[in-house]
Symmetry: C2
Subunit: 154 residues, 2 copies
DNA sequence: GCATTATACTTCGATATCGAACATTTCGAT
DNA sequence: ATCGAAATGTTCGATATCGAAGTATAATGC
């Protein structure tokens, strides 16, 4: 039954690395999401938006798209939900009436100030499975891979 | 405005590695999904199920859960959609009437036989941004990280 | 200035994804 | 043999996610 894939060594190697990358990321993000959902009733996406606004200040949705690597329609949805929850507000931009500038409300700021340190601690705990050098190397490899994939002409 | 996070060096390092991991994986999977959707009208999840069945043979949904690292309810949904598309079939297991054994239909087998080599080639192309040694190291680090995260008592 | 093109965002329809609650069936302990 | 716990799937309600199509506005080219 187990008809394993017969590819070139190069393909086998690439697939193996890819599968491990995808699985590790799935597992880590899954753990973080569990915690966020359970403790703060937030999704990873929502946290990503709040965090960007917290660290970088108010910004148009188009910029949020680039920061969190999601489609425009997705950002609309996530911001809708955050707005409904009273955590962010959409404003206008005088010099360009197409733009919706998103900013934290006071409540949103309070929340992210409380949640982010715990989230950071949890990330540190999970990434602690790797040594400092290993984390640095993982970061380097991922950065290289991510940039190349983003540039990849499809 | 940019109020950057002031954490310990250990936290900064861990967060940096985590963000790069998440972004690279998002970008790579996004590219693969684009291609799958465009060329074959398949999602990554659907491909994952078809691939598992192709390489490992028919299996219960509970086993699919473990293979693709998704919840039971998610597997129900994905298998529903594949079944509706005529690519898989659900069968019974005589010795345990709770179990639904999922297997490829002839059409599903034809599809995965055609799609998988192209998918593998695309993965190889994307991962080709890294050298063979780098791929090996990335695989090792991800495996270590993923296993630890899976074991992490929450 | 006007037509074309590009950008910002929303809406829509589809799939994915989770956890909680549920039904069914099996298993274990007594 | 029975009762309670565990395992397998499904359903439900919510959010995420995408691309395509649509609306509104801005920028560009002539």
């Amino acid at each position: 039954m187990p008809t394993r894939y017969q590819g070139s060594p190069r393909e086998v190697q690439a697939l193996d690395a890819y599968v491990k990358l995808a699985r590790a990321t799935t597992t880590v993000i899954g753990r973080l999401n569990q915690r966020l959902q359970h403790d703060h009733d937030l999704t990873e996406s929502q946290l990503g938006v709040l965090e960007a606004l917290f660290h970088l200040g108010p910004m148009p949705q188009s910029e949020l798209c680039r920061k969190i690597l999601r489609s425009g329609s997705n950002v609309t949805t996530v911001v809708d939900n955050l707005e409904r929850a009273g955590l962010v507000r959409r404003g206008a931009q005088d010099d360009d009436r197409r733009v919706r500038v998103v900013q934290l409300t006071a409540e949103g700021r309070r929340l992210i100030e409380r949640v982010f340190p715990r989230h950071a601690a949890r990330v540190t705990e999970l990434m602690g499975a790797l040594t400092r050098d290993e984390q640095r190397e993982l970061g380097r490899l991922c950065r290289k891979l991510g940039l190349a994939a983003a540039d990849s002409t499809d």
